[in-house]
Symmetry: C2
Subunit: 256 residues, 2 copies
Amino acid sequence: MMLVKLGGSVITDKMNYRTLREDVLFRLAGELARSEESVILVHGAGSFGHVIAARHQLQNGYNDPSQLMAAAQVMEDVRTLNLAVTSALNRSGLPAVSLPPSALVELREGRLDRLELGVFRRYLDLGMVPVTFGDVALDSRRGLGICSGDQLMESLAREFAPRRIIFCSDVDGVFTDDPVVHPEARMLEAVDRETLSSLPRSQRCADVTGSIFGKIETMLRIAAHGGDSMVINGLAPGRLAAALKGEKVPGTRVVV
Amino acid sequence: MMLVKLGGSVITDKMNYRTLREDVLFRLAGELARSEESVILVHGAGSFGHVIAARHQLQNGYNDPSQLMAAAQVMEDVRTLNLAVTSALNRSGLPAVSLPPSALVELREGRLDRLELGVFRRYLDLGMVPVTFGDVALDSRRGLGICSGDQLMESLAREFAPRRIIFCSDVDGVFTDDPVVHPEARMLEAVDRETLSSLPRSQRCADVTGSIFGKIETMLRIAAHGGDSMVINGLAPGRLAAALKGEKVPGTRVVV
């Protein structure tokens, strides 16, 4: 089984509220379909989630009734994105089933405490493609919170021990520094705990689910549960298809 | 707490595939918002679900891999409708949370065997409006099946013992015969087990979830768990708002 994450920065324009990259999404759906692999797909929320979630501090829990409309709006927005994702998979011939964290996850102080994994397994066994995503979810201590795509990846990797774990980003891999701001930044062939600690601290974009460092930390934890794990560029045509086949592609291996 | 069902024939044009009655939906969302009552909302699938579900016999379970794409398409279509419903509630100031049966229901030979009710209660306690709907769901014996809005109504009524249960139909209430085909048909003030058995057998529209008789049978079972139960015309402006307040409106009471 393969576990694939489509980052919010790949399938959405993160700088513009509710803006889908429809051509990218449809191409990636086609690459998944051609692989003929059994897949669970996780996608980020990108510009469909982070703007309003951050403005109303949903990642810190429910404190004020005014947050309820914000939570409902974030849920509506990420479902709009998720519907586009499942629709692209269906049009590519992959039967998708949406499994939303708001219905299946319990957080505890922002950490993923419980994910109802049985339904993922059952749809996978039927031959469908379970699709889950960054979403608002219940929190046993804080009422509500944000469940990120990476938290879902970790829980799913632990349960399913995937043969390959592929993170699709909007850059070629993990760089020594932000390659947009620092053109001299070098892409790393591999990251492990040691390389991580040597990287400079920077952040490209406000994101309620944490910086790239948190993401790499999480990737290292996720990679511990599966086979090959790597970060590739989802904006470069063909790389996801090649990575699914186990071919060598530009990217950063995540090494435990 | 109020339990409200928006029939598929009210919020969609049942004769035309994937056709929303957006004006009706938005008006009904406004009537729900003005009531300021705690509500769980169930909606049918109408023309977003029945056409493809019937063509591929999804109500009889999973027998053939060709049904997987149909199941995925029905899920996509009913989510398109559900997103319109939650969006209308949000725009009316009611914070909606979508709770899909595909993630939360287990059928057993087509009957609703288990619905994860805890999440409904928790979102309700937070002040949100849980919204669920006719959907494809897992079936422990048949792989997949169809979970109808009425099956959800029954399970939710049993759990929450609502003060009022309101079914919004596309006609004024329950008639002695189909009022479209038989203009002499008389609307019943109330239905109970006796009146039901005296009605002639007819059916207006192909529907994978059963005829109006099955629906009345189910309504009688549902009404047994709550307070006042009635069938009203959701196409007539103001009736849902009045019924939510307990005012007398044209319609058929369901009497246990």
